[in-house]
Amino acid sequence: MRDFISGNDGVAHAVRLCRTPLIAAYPITPQTSIYERLSGWEASGQLNGIMMRTESEHSAMASCIGASLTGVRTFTATSSQGLALMHEMLHFAAGCRLPIVMANVNRIISAPWGFWADHLDSLSQRDTGWVQFYCENGQEALDTVIQAYRIAEQVYLPVMIALDAFFVSHFVEPLEIPEQDQVDGFLPPLNLPHKFDVDKPGFLVPVVSSEKYREYKHLAAVGMDSVKEIALRVDGEFREKFGRGYGIIEPFMLDDAEVVVVTAGSMTSTARLAIRKMREEGKKAGLLKIRAFRPFPVEALQQALRGRKKIAVLDRDFSLGGGGIFCQELRSALVHSPDHPLVFSYIAGVGGTDVSPETIEQIATRAMARSEPADEPEWIMGE
């Protein structure tokens, strides 16, 4: 069914269609409308699960952990400070290898206070062991939730779907809402081989020896690495069934590009316009969208960028004393590729500031004109 709805509504529809039995959440702008939509359906009896209204995001994640341990699908949604409050539990979720799915609506992290789109909240959680996908629009957010359960339940790792505040969460677009039987066909009822048996209680998260700790982490690393392949396979099956797919990265007009603009999230849509216009004007620019951030798709990126001379990475985030986080990751991903491209770093859209097609065009043009990138990123300050 096609409907004119927001990205948050799309996420809520996906959770409903996945028949998630337990949703534990705490409201926070701009995530709240996901929570509200699911609560509404619970009240009207259209939800196949229960909404657990916890007193904090930390408790919401703890509740998801408890339920997920018993082998049921769980979901939570949060943003910014809520995600920060969950931090401790995020490690527990991944450490216990639980297939929890979460939507994080990317909002600036305080201080100062604000509500606008910025990726620093979820990027700050990059080392917690969660799979992370950054979504370009509402349809992709909806579809990624459904894919996320398939991936999480194969690798026993939690998945975070990141969607930009307002640009994706609240913008209303025509979205394709899959039918229930379609989703049921794609996502079978959950039956995990590893779960906590309430009839055979044990002590969770016991003290282990150093060697055992290393073993747990190593096996988790193997699991995380397998996501690259599993996510592609799941995406392929999804494309077959629903007619839409996204890959873990998306190259756009990369052939013979002299400069490749790299983006994540909603900015990608804007960049498509800018790149298409440049191509029409005969300028050899291309676009590369990064969808999977954890695991970072190193091989896919190396391959896609082989032979390209320059790339311009746009970061809607900033790690103080470090730089743009996507740029850092990309630089380290390319360092072993022979003749890898020069990587130019731009900080654009921080704090939810507007990044127009003209800005992206200027960035691409500037990178083309320069012979050497600077070590430090360039802040795009507008005007």
């Binding site: 216990c96 590893h194 044990g202 969770l204 016991p206």
Partner: protein, 572 residues
């Protein structure tokens, strides 16, 4: 640790035990079950263990519930109907929403079918004594009952031809059906008790002649009516309240005429008025004080009002005359409230020169009862009451003794006397012994505590009262009191019981509202809240076992106990 799961390294989980680490050594404070006196039990003159029997009702253990009541009170069917239930006024729940319907629950338990009744077993007594009991009202029967259960041989001397006293001859059947009384009297008399009916002490046998008994219990009741002492009191159609109720309870034909005037404001006045109504008369109660000052039980007053009885206050009769058309004309002095009397109620003071005259077909006076002391030696009388001499083996109870004239107080006085006698038979002269048995600070004592002390030789520890401030009401949802159903309009056409019996559903609903103040009822809060999982609860016995070796003494269980039945004790 983690042995079983070390093979797959997915969820870090250990099936091994950390029991060898005795984390309980970190604290010397440990939770202990405690029993406090619930305020309902404190308020009940008979000291009935109310939370216990209510809990048993909730569990569906009706026979055990009845046993729990019968330890303290042989008249649950009577008290479940006509007691003034001070327990409900004491109920901690009253200040939260509404008190628990304890009387209804007692009535429910009392109505067990005879096949289910618990067997009463006297305790072994190697030196049984003989006790003479004068009168078989609630005090006399209770005294015989308790003495028999303590292994003694009571003999009751009853002047009338049937036992029961005020229960038989005073309370009308619409409040206490005769069958209910019969059943309870039969249960009492099934014990080794001798009953001599038609034997009035002072007429058929002299009090002196009973001196071969080891003790005497004087419970003759207050069967004489206080006189109006006014002109015309002996006219035909002027009744004495006690005499009238006696006639009603004997099933005699009574004709009152169209209008009856009842004089008085106590329970007898209300019973008289409601009986007169059922005999087809319209009824007005005339009382010398105000509505607030009427000593009658409030529920009874409300029921009388519901039934259409009219009240006129601040009037005192001064004379009664026969009118020309054969009716009675009563002249009243108008009164006004004055300074408070000994009871704290405003005294009724005449308003000089103000009179009113009312006509009626019958006048029934119910202005109080007196004790017949004509057969009692002077040294055993005082202030119009029996004044016992326990040292000489003379005990007293019921309406003839110095105590509130209620049924439950009569039962309480009998229990006190029976225990006192047993103590003295056993050579224990310590007057303080009785106070060791007290349930709170309002005078009630516990037979259960006495039986336990008697068997073990150890006197019980005095317990605090579980006052309202010690209850954690956060654990209770507000709910309304369960109200008894009543007979409809047809109730005025007969003497059928007005209040109908509760059914099991009502009893369960009512029982489940009980806070069980100061008494573990195995709600399992401690078990659920314990972060260490060191508490196990025996839900049948309502006892708990603490794994002290692993209890860190956090006190969560004590805080989470809604009824203050868990306390932290420092064992260092």
């Amino acid at each position: 640790m983690g042995r079983e799961d070390s093979e797959n390294f997915v969820i870090p989980i250990s099936y091994g035990s950390t029991e060898s680490i005795e984390t309980g050594q970190w604290s010397s404070k440990k939770p202990r079950t405690r029993q406090l006196v619930p305020p309902c039990q404190e308020a009940c003159p008979a000291g009935t263990d109310i939370p216990r029997f209510v809990h048993l009702v909730e569990k569906g253990k009706y026979r055990e519930a009845l046993s729990a009541i019968l330890v303290e009170n042989p008249f649950p069917g009577v008290c479940g109907r006509v007691c003034y239930h001070p327990c409900e006024a004491g109920c901690n729940r009253a200040s939260y929403d509404e008190s628990v319907s304890i009387q209804m629950l007692e009535r429910f338990v009392s109505s067990l079918k005879s096949g289910d009744l618990p067997r009463l077993q006297p305790v072994p007594n190697e030196a049984p004594r003989r006790v003479a009991i004068i009168g078989s009202g609630p005090a006399g029967l209770s005294c015989a009952y308790f003495l028999a259960l303590l292994g003694h041989h009571p003999v009751i001397f009853e002047a009338r031809d049937e036992p029961g006293g005020v229960l038989r001859w005073g309370i009308p059947p619409f409040r206490l059906p005769k069958a209910v009384l019969k059943k309870e009297v039969r249960r009492i008399l099934a014990l080794p008790i001798e009953l001599k009916t038609g034997c009035r002490v002072g007429r058929d046998v002299a009090l002196d002649e009973l001196d071969w008994f080891d003790a005497v219990f004087l419970s003759p009741g207050a069967e004489l009516n206080a006189q109006l002492s006014i002109e015309g009191q002996d006219l035909e159609g002027v009744w004495d309240g006690g005499e009238f109720l006696m006639a009603v309870n004997s099933g005699r034909d009574i004709s009152l005429g169209a209008e009856t005037l009842v004089i008085g404001g106590g329970n007898t006045a209300i019973d008289v008025a409601r009986s007169a109504l059922r005999l087809g008369s319209s009824v007005t109660i005339a009382y010398r004080r105000t509505w607030d000052a009427m000593p009658a039980i409030r529920d009874e007053v409300s029921e009388a009002e519901e039934e259409g009885i009219r009240f006129t206050f601040l009037v005192q009769p001064v004379s009664i005359h026969r009118t020309g058309d054969g009716r009675l004309s009563v002249t009243f002095q108008r009164m006004e409230p004055g300074a408070p009397d000994g009871s704290g109620r405003p005294r009724a003071v005449p308003v000089e020169g103000e009179y009113a005259t009312v006509q009626a077909d019958s006048v029934i006076s119910a202005v109080g009862e007196r004790v017949d002391l004509s057969w009692i030696p002077e040294k055993l009388a005082g202030g119009g009451l029996v004044d016992p001499d326990p040292d000489a083996g003379i005990f007293a109870g019921g309406d003839a003794a110095r105590q509130p004239r209620t049924i439950v107080n009569a039962i309480a006085s009998a229990k006190r006397a029976a225990i006192s006698m047993d103590l003295s038979f056993r050579g224990i002269r310590d007057r303080g012994a009785l106070s060791q048995l007290r349930t709170g600070g309002k005078g009630s004592i516990s037979m259960a505590a006495y039986l336990e002390a008697r068997a073990s030789g150890v006197w019980p520890e005095i317990k605090d009262v579980a006052t309202g401030d010690r209850i954690n009401t956060l654990f209770f949802e507000k709910s309304g009191r369960v109200r008894s159903r009543k007979l409809g309009k047809k109730r005025l056409k007969s003497f059928l019981e007005v209040n109908l019996s509760p059914d099991a559903r009502m009893a369960l609903r009512s029982a489940s509202r009980c806070y069980s103040c100061g008494r573990c009822n195995a709600c399992l809060n401690c078990y659920y809240f314990c972060p260490e999982g060191v508490i196990s609860v025996d839900v049948e016995q309502c006892t708990r076992t603490i794994d002290d070796a692993h209890c860190k003494g956090c006190g969560t269980c004590a805080t989470a106990c809604p009824r203050t039945a868990v306390e932290m004790k420092d064992l260092s």
